[in-house]
């Protein structure tokens, strides 16, 4: 691949959204809504076109040349031999292009949808400015080939998320949710920055020396690399040795960063609250792209995780644990967006599980499919909310199928794809779980949990569909619902088509035995099967994969069937046997989100406030203020002293000057004489 072309295209992908953001932000208000709508969407559309060109180049690149790292700009270099340089390097390979396809492709559809969704909002210029900025930051994040740049992108998406969750900043709940999201993100940012420090300090060039062997080069001590360029980091990942505690710590820190971004336990509580943002934001940031950045991060750092099995195992366990927890909570939520949010959390848990067991391609496969159907579900839900005048409680809905047919059918496609029957999720989810049968800590323990998640997924997906769209309308708003505008329908329909066919196309020809997505594997695996990477996941045998597929899909269908039996055209309460004393605690636990928010409140927030109160009432005035006042007092006294010399009289100034000039000269002459 020609480096100049690659550099040009990557720069285009980065510059178009940031330019769009600047134009909308600075000129949006004076130039008006039409300008903003056009600039905001076209910039992303053009970026998507550039990504498609990159994809074409990548597909035609000869074997072994499918990854290209180019330097866009040497941002800071302090001369030869200095390690303080930072350059904007980008890596274009199957992984980054895969992510870019989702970011700009789905992003473009959601931008188009936003034109309709935000048509009455006075802050539309601000909205598109933030959205374009998000696309920029996200593209920077996935293109970055240097950890500094990656962290800039990483923090940039968190900023965009903060701004957009709090987009309606005059709502208290939105402001609080934005703050919560930001604080959680910062925990992850700090972890990632610490990981970068550790990598910078520890990673060396000494070759990996197997235990017991005689390695003279290693005995001399590692030559420290002091670099944050990802290709170099990966090339020397093995220098720390296998099962190195340092590498494990680095990987755990990276994983914490990923957990914060991807809303994994225990850093997951911000995501449901983030639904305070406008629905297109939820679709773009909190479903399709930003929250999957954690999956990307672990996949990108796979050479490190491959060498740190303990950390990888932790990642897999946390992912699967989050997945079943979120699926359970989703069962009883009543806010349409929150149900989808918990389902997102659950699905991302599966992806995190996949990258944790080394099934990177499978995880990324599900990432893309999930982006399609989850964006679809959110946008369809957005249509519902739009027509319901911002009512989000599903208990007020019902019977919308007859009133908004296209939206309802699209939602049904999305629910099937999510539930794992016929469409999208059926392929990617089962592929991913198939790897769980033979990989991961204590396999197939996590796989068994995974198929249980399938049941839950089918249940909550069709509970949501049933309660919202079938039965009788339960409020006036629902009775007067109507179909959305065309600009909001077209993206939904396109996404529904993608969710419906993507699995079939990517996996063609579909066979049950040897159930593997050949195209996805061929495209993505070269990134992960490199010379420097360690062993990655074992592929399940053809028979095992086939059995797994049948079991997984079967359980999904059971979940869907039970949901249809309970909720379609019925009322919305839990079935009778869950109201009794024996099992009654289950819905309560689910409804209260396992009491995790309450737990954090009791464990962290309240003690934090209590500590702060103690600090403010006693420590601050007596301990801190004392020395702070002391220091400022000294500084002020000193300042007054200096001012008192500043008499305003020339004779004083001149005499001080003479004194110092003479003192310096005499001192130096004497010193020189002494040396002499």
């Amino acid at each position: 691949m020609n480096p100049t072309v690659i550099a040009g295209l990557s720069a285009t992908i980065l510059l178009l959204p940031i330019l769009g953001s600047a134009l909308c932000g600075f000129l949006g208000v004076p130039l008006g809504r039409r300008f903003v709508n056009w600039v905001g969407t076209v910039s992303i559309g053009l970026a998507f076109a550039a990504v498609l060109v990159l994809l074409a180049l990548l597909l035609h690149a000869p074997q072994g040349h499918q990854s290209s790292t180019v330097v866009l700009w040497n941002w800071l270099s302090l001369g030869a031999g200095s390690n303080l340089g930072v350059s904007v390097n980008v890596t274009v390979d199957a992984l980054s292009v895969w992510m870019l396809l989702v970011i700009t492709g789905v992003g473009f559809l959601i931008h188009v949808y936003s034109v309709g969704y935000m048509e009455h909002d006075p802050g539309v210029a601000r909205f598109f400015s933030y959205m374009n900025f998000f696309i920029f930051a996200m593209a920077l994040l996935v293109l970055a080939a240097n950890m500094v740049i990656l962290i800039i992108g990483w923090a940039g998406v968190a900023l965009a998320s903060y701004l957009l969750i709090g987009f309606w900043h005059d709502r208290r709940s939105a402001a609080v949710a934005a703050r919560k999201a930001m604080i959680t993100q910062v925990i992850g940012d700090v972890a990632l920055v610490l990981a970068a420090f550790l990598i910078f300090v520890n990673l060396g060039t000494a070759p990996y020396c197997p235990p017991g062997a005689h390695c003279p080069a290693a005995a001399g001590g590692a030559q420290h690399l002091h670099t944050l360029n990802l290709p170099q980091i990966f090339a020397h990942a093995s220098s720390l040795g296998p099962n190195s505690p340092t590498l494990t710590i680095i990987c755990i820190l990276i994983a914490i960063g990923a957990f914060a971004k991807s809303a994994q336990f225990p850093l997951h509580t911000w995501l449901p609250d983030a639904m305070e943002g406008p629905t297109p934001v939820s679709a773009l940031i909190h479903a399709a792209t930003m929250v999957t950045a954690g999956v990307y991060l672990i996949a990108r750092f796979h050479p490190l995780f491959d060498l740190a099995p303990v950390a990888a195992g932790m990642v897999a366990s946390v992912g699967m644990g989050t997945s079943i927890m979120a699926g359970f909570i989703a069962l009883s939520q009543t806010d349409i967006k929150r149900v989808i949010a918990y389902s997102t959390m659950s699905q991302i848990g599966l992806m995190i599980f996949a990258v944790g067991i080394g099934a990177y391609a499978a995880g990324l496969y599900h990432l893309m499919i999930h982006a399609f159907f989850k964006a679809l579900l959110f946008l369809a839900a957005g249509n519902v909310i739009h027509t319901m005048h911002d009512e989000q409680d599903i208990r007020q809905m019902g019977g919308l199928q007859a009133r908004m047919r296209i939206t309802a059918w699209s939602f049904l496609v999305g629910s099937l794809a999510l539930g794992g029957f016929l469409f999208g999720g059926m392929f990617s989810k089962e592929d991913l779980l198939g790897f769980g049968t033979v990989n991961g800590p204590a396999a197939p323990a996590l796989y068994i949990v995974g198929v249980a998640v399938n049941v839950l997924t089918g249940l909550y997906a069709f509970r949501l569909y049933g309660v919202t769209f079938t039965g009788e309308p339960r409020s006036d708003l629902a009775r007067h619902a109507h179909e959305a505008r065309r600009v909001m329908l077209i993206p939904v329909v396109i996404l529904a088509a993608l969710a419906a066919v993507a699995g079939w196309v990517l996996q063609w020809p579909v066979t049950i035995a040897g159930f593997r997505p050949a195209f996805v594997d061929a495209f993505l695996n070269p990134v992960f099967h490199t010379a420097v990477s360690g062993p990655i996941a074992h592929e399940p045998g053809a028979g095992l994969a086939g059995i797994g597929f049948v079991i997984g899909t079967g359980l999904s269908v059971i979940g869907i069937a039970v949901a249809l039996r309970i909720w379609v055209r019925r009322d919305l309460d839990a079935p009778a046997w869950f109201r009794g004393p024996i099992l009654g605690w289950l819905p309560r636990l689910s409804f209260h989100k396992l009491y995790i928010d309450e737990l954090y409140d009791a464990l962290l927030v309240r003690p934090g406030y209590a500590l702060a109160r103690v600090l403010r009432r006693t420590v601050e005035p007596e301990v801190m203020d004392g020395w702070v006042r002391g220091v400022t007092g000294v500084a002020t006294d000193f300042s007054a002293g200096i001012r008192s010399v500043q008499t305003g009289l020339i004779r004083d100034y001149a005499s001080i000057m003479v004194f110092f000039a003479v003192a310096f000269t005499v001192a130096l002459i004497i010193a020189a004489g002494l040396v002499h």
């Binding site: 001369g79 500043q646 020339i650 000057m657 130096l668 002499h676």
Partner: protein, 505 residues
């Protein structure tokens, strides 16, 4: 007669090649004389034409300096028998000085009109001072250095007293004149000692003479230190800074804008040329004094600024502290090239930031007295949001916040100090800049303070003119660019450093 004729006489005369080396300076010098004469024919109501002509002269000189950067090449050369350098350092500093001058010309007409000071001499004197600065940064001979310093100083003495019916302005002028002459005497004495001990006035030969191994010469050390005292006065480094607050406050603020930046830049350029190159072999002897002056400047400047209540005085003390930071780069510049690069970067960053800050004060100074008291800034944000935002940005840059020019200036000089194994110096710098945040942010926050109900507006801010607003916007953009596009300028200063002393072999 025959005796004189028999003396060996340099009959070589300067040629076109020499003139090329001085072209930007010549342009501004001719412009100076021409503007003096234009003042006689241009009617008083049309004085802004003079500003336009001045800007044209400066722009022409700027273009010539840029051309000179490429024409002189990486090594550069000296012209007029080794008296003046034609190299990238002078081209670079010329550009900084000319831009500062240009910004001053942009903000001046409006300000001078409001204050009733719009006399034609202003522009001529500004150009004269600019010529002096340009000669100073190119000077490679003690004689030229002294002449250039006097040329710029005398013009600035007059400009400081430009508000003729204001006692403060008169006081500033006389203080500056007396103390400046005083400092010139020190410098002249130092030059005499250096000349006496080495037998040369040209820096290249002085460097050669000083690098000869032989018994150390205490008087030469004395000469070097006295010259440093002279320069330290010009860059307003403590403890030779006493004139600075009084003069900056007394002089009309447009003049302060100019002299706080351009003088310092030019004086630092010659300081780098003389000390980091010509006197490099005496590094061990002078570095301790430079380090001492750097630390005293940082401490005195920052601490004194803490308790000010006048914007101009605060910026004056801040300028003293900034001089201390730049001196860090000068002090370690012989040992590590990054020192000189950092100092040059800092100069450009300081120039664009400080001129921006003073430009805001100038643009916001109305009829009557200058905007000066902290109180005058209260609530500026609610009336002049763009100007207030710009001032806040400049103050952040002076404090050294990232994405501003000031951050990288500080970063580079501190990095140089650490690279030179002088960590203590870097810690002094970092510690004092932490102190500086306090007074910069204090002023910045004042602008966001709302007035009490029914309270009078503290100061009648004038409307921002197109030119004034343009100047503020341009300097703000410059501050942002130098804070983000680091390699741009870093490459330039690396190239500029290559030949700080052409002709020395």
């Amino acid at each position: 007669m025959s005796m004189i004729a028999g003396l060996p006489l340099a009959t070589a005369t300067p040629g076109g090649g020499d003139l090329v080396g001085l072209l930007p300076e010549v342009i501004v010098a001719v412009g100076f004389v021409a503007l003096m004469l234009m003042d006689l024919v241009v009617p008083p109501s049309r004085r802004s034409w003079l500003a336009g002509a001045t800007a044209a002269v400066l722009a022409g000189a700027f273009a010539m300096s840029v051309w000179g950067w490429f024409d002189a090449g990486p090594a550069g050369r000296t012209v007029y028998f080794g008296a003046v350098a034609y190299d990238r350092l002078s081209a670079f500093v010329n550009c900084v000085v000319l831009v500062s001058s240009l910004v001053t010309v942009m903000i001046s007409p409006g300000y001078l009109n409001r204050r009733g000071l719009h006399h034609g001499e202003y522009y001529a004197l500004l150009l004269a001072a600019t010529v002096g600065m340009m000669l100073l940064d190119a000077a490679t001979s003690l004689m030229v250095i002294f002449l250039a310093i006097e040329l710029l100083s005398i013009s600035l003495y007059i400009l400081s007293g430009f508000a003729r019916d204001e006692e403060r302005s008169q006081e500033a002028a006389i203080k500056y004149l007396l103390l400046g002459s005083f400092a010139s005497a020190f410098m002249l004495f130092g030059m005499a000692l250096v000349y006496g001990e080495t037998g040369h006035t040209q820096l290249a030969q002085i460097a050669l003479a000083m690098s000869h191994p032989g018994p150390l010469d205490p008087l030469l050390v004395g000469g070097v230190i006295l010259m440093f005292v002279g320069f330290a006065f010009k860059v307003s480094a403590a403890p030779f800074h006493f004139w600075t607050p009084d003069v900056y406050q007394g002089a009309p603020v447009a003049v302060t804008t100019f002299m706080s930046v351009a003088t310092k830049v030019a004086a630092f350029a010659v300081l780098i040329r003389v000390f980091d190159d010509a006197f490099a072999s005496y590094y061990a002897h002078w570095s301790s004094v430079v380090i001492a002056v750097a630390i005293i400047s940082m401490v005195v400047g920052n601490l004194a600024a803490l308790t000010q209540t006048s914007v101009k005085r605060m910026l004056a003390y801040s300028g003293i502290a900034q001089a201390g930071y730049i001196l860090i780069g000068v002090a370690v510049g012989v040992a590590v090239p990054l020192g000189v690069q950092g100092a040059l970067y800092y100069l450009a960053a300081y120039a664009v930031t400080n001129i921006g800050a003073f430009a805001v004060v100038t643009v916001m100074s109305g009829h009557g007295e200058d905007l000066d008291s902290y109180d005058h800034l209260r609530g500026l944000w609610f009336r002049r949001p763009y100007v207030a935002a710009a001032l806040g940005f400049f103050l952040l840059s002076l404090g050294g916040f990232p994405v501003t020019a000031g951050f990288f200036g500080k970063f580079l000089v501190f990095a140089a100090a650490i690279a030179a194994h002088n960590v203590a110096l870097a810690i002094w710098g970092i510690g004092t800049s932490a102190v500086s945040i306090f007074y910069y942010l204090r002023v910045a926050l004042l602008m966001f303070q709302r007035r009490e109900e029914g309270e009078e507006q503290p100061y009648a801010w004038p409307r921002t003119s197109l030119l004034g607003g343009g100047a503020v916007a341009a300097t703000a953009a410059g501050t942002l660019i130098l804070g983000t596009a680091v390699p741009l300028l870093l490459t330039v200063v690396q190239l500029a450093q290559a030949g700080t002393l052409p002709g020395a072999t």
